[in-house]
């Protein structure tokens, strides 16, 4: 087990040792090591993307009592290969009135932040590609590049649906970024660091021998986790916040004029970005690579990390299967009138929890601090958007 825990790192080191004995200079080895890490991380996430693209369809199908894709290969697992071939062989359309350079650059710019943010996630014990002191800040700073890419795509297509979709996407992402960052900051505040690995380390250990010290087990952490999760759904343009691509209104939003491999790049970047934000969610609130129960610590940490990421991704598909798309004014009202005050409440609650000594009393205090705003805001929202029972005029 200990061997398995260290397996990825040891494999890399062994490979480098072999190269070193062949006479490759020291500095080159450092670069090679970096390349190996980058390659592995990108490879793993591309694999996850491929798996997700088929599993999402299968899960959605199961929720709707269908089989889902099961034709290509065993259980339809080669579906991504088929999709890839289809995407690659499709014609690459560029509208005549499009801004050709920007139209070409948009998918590239979209891919860059999606891959960059993978650098700071702690994938396992002592397995952070880049140990950055202000990793959380890096994550959100680089993630901001996605908005630029979406705007470029929408504007360069010279299509009114694209521009509308891009404007919706930007409005949505700017609005949801605020609760997202504030709820992330609560976790950073309690851990006392902006470094993801320190935050994960702060969630280690077990209370009463079996309860993990994950932030999600505290009232403020649970609230912040929910807020972060909702913000993450909106940031990665996933249902029910997929208005920018609302096909019933906007064809495909900023993706309308994209086809072939450029579309595939967008698709890939969106999914990798989604996995990255799932990874950040796991790191901040679900204890990162920490095992959920004491006796399970023998299982390698990186398996826990990716298991949790897959679980969070599964819940995102579950949400997609359950909730209908929001209306655009409801979307913004929800962000500014519910999520923002709630994230402040979670922030305050975390502070109360910390200064009340982090014990059971602190637990209840933070529950009260976060519960009252929830009830007030929630009730005001449900009363405002309450739906009267539908009456049928001509039947019954």
């Amino acid at each position: 087990m200990e061997l398995l825990e260290r397996a990825p790192v040891e494999l890399k080191n062994a490979f480098l040792r072999v190269l070193g004995s062949l006479g490759v200079p020291e500095g080159m080895l450092a670069i090679l090591s970096a390349v190996l890490i980058i390659g592995t991380v990108i490879g793993v996430f591309l694999g996850l993307f491929a798996l997700m693209s088929v599993m999402e369809r299968k899960i959605l199908a199961r929720v709707q009592n269908r089989y889902g894709p099961n034709r290509a290969g065993p259980f339809g697992l080669f579906q991504p290969v088929a999709d890839g071939i289809k995407m690659l062989t499709k014609e690459d359309l560029v509208p005549r009135a499009a801004d050709k350079v920007v139209h070409f650059l948009a998918p590239v710019v979209m891919m860059v932040p999606a891959l960059l943010v993978l650098a700071i996630l702690p994938y396992g014990r002592d397995m952070v590609p880049v140990e950055l002191e202000s990793g959380i800040l890096f994550f959100f700073a680089v993630g901001a590049g996605t908005e630029v890419a979406i705007f470029m795509a929408g504007w360069a297509s010279n299509n009114k649906y694209s521009v509308l979709g891009a404007m919706r996407a930007i409005a949505q992402m700017i609005s949801y970024e605020i609760p997202l960052v504030i709820s992330a900051v609560t976790a950073a505040m309690i851990a006392g660091s902006l470094s993801p690995s320190v935050i994960v380390a702060a969630q280690g250990g077990f209370a009463a021998g079996f309860l993990p010290h994950w932030f999600v087990t505290t009232p403020w952490g649970f609230t912040a986790a929910l807020l972060f999760y909702i913000g993450a759904l909106a940031e990665s343009n996933r249902s029910p916040f997929d208005l920018p691509e609302g096909e019933s209104e906007l064809v495909a939003g900023h993706l309308t004029e994209y086809s072939g491999f450029k579309y595939a790049t967008f698709f890939m970047a969106e999914y990798i970005g989604m996995f990255a934000i799932c990874g950040m969610f796991v790191t901040l609130f679900l204890g990162g690579w920490q095992a959920p129960l004491p006796f399970l610590t023998v299982v390698p940490s990186w398996i826990w990390f990716f298991g949790k990421v897959c679980f969070v991704a599964f819940t995102m598909v579950w949400v997609r299967a359950t909730l209908p798309r929001l209306r655009v004014d409801h979307l913004l009202a929800f962000a500014w009138k519910f999520l923002l005050p709630m994230s402040f409440a979670a922030f305050l609650s975390a502070a109360c929890w910390h200064y009340a000594g982090r014990g059971p009393a602190a637990w209840f205090l933070s529950l009260v601090v976060v519960g009252i705003p929830y009830l007030v805001l929630g009730l005001s929202f449900t009363s405002r958007f309450s739906v009267s029972r539908r009456t049928y005029l001509f039947s019954e």
Binding site: R62, N65, Y67, T322, G378, T382, S383
Partner: protein, 203 residues
């Protein structure tokens, strides 16, 4: 007043129940896995027309006599017939070319209803997709001709009725022919008798 968020949770429970249920109760999955599981078609289902022939040899047993009624009646005009001629140029009672463009055919069955020779019938084969839009969807005589046994296989009731009708027609025709022959024979016999024994009164 409901506790805020309860409605969302109820929705999630519903989808979760469907998700898990689809693995437990097989009845939930109503999708038929097509190439492995084929639907049992009702007997009167139909796809596109074909030509029936009797016996073993398609050319010899062809019921079609190239009367072109179906060609005239076909609403989308997907049937194309050229009558066969012998070396002397005399028309023969069989088609030289009989094509049906099934990319145009709308399966209305009017050709079947108008055919006086019970020659054109509806097939049930629906796996007709091909990569060649123009060549392989125009069926020629060799592809259209199918034996009466095949017809019995796909539409047993209808085929037996048709056979019975053909048989009845044949019998009627035979009877009529026999009656005619009888009458002719009688007439000849009478004539002969008359010739042999001319009535005396006339003299």
């Amino acid at each position: 007043m409901n506790f805020p968020g309860i409605g969302l949770l109820k929705g999630f429970v519903v989808t979760a129940r469907n998700f898990l249920g689809s693995y437990v109760e097989k009845d939930r999955l109503t999708t038929r896995q097509y190439p492995e599981e084929r639907p049992k078609l009702p007997e009167n289902s139909r796809s596109f027309p074909f030509l029936v022939f009797d016996g073993e040899d398609p050319e010899a047993g062809m019921r079609c006599v190239a009367c072109k009624i179906c060609e005239k009646e076909c609403p989308p005009q997907c049937i194309y017939i050229i009558q066969d001629r012998d070396a002397a140029g005399k028309p023969l009672k069989r088609p030289r070319i009989f094509d049906i463009d099934i990319s145009v055919c709308m399966s209305c069955q009017i050709c079947v209803e108008v055919c006086p020779f019970e020659s054109i019938r509806m097939d049930t084969d629906y796996e007709l997709s091909s990569f060649d839009r123009f060549g392989s969807l125009v069926l020629d005589k060799s592809k259209l001709l199918k034996s009466n046994a095949y017809y019995h296989g796909i539409h047993p009731t209808e085929a037996s009725e048709t056979d019975a009708r053909i048989e009845a027609d044949r019998k009627k025709k035979e009877a009529a022919a026999a009656a005619k022959a009888e009458a002719a024979r009688k007439a000849t016999a009478e004539k002969a008798a008359k010739a042999a024994h001319p009535p005396e009164e006339t003299k």
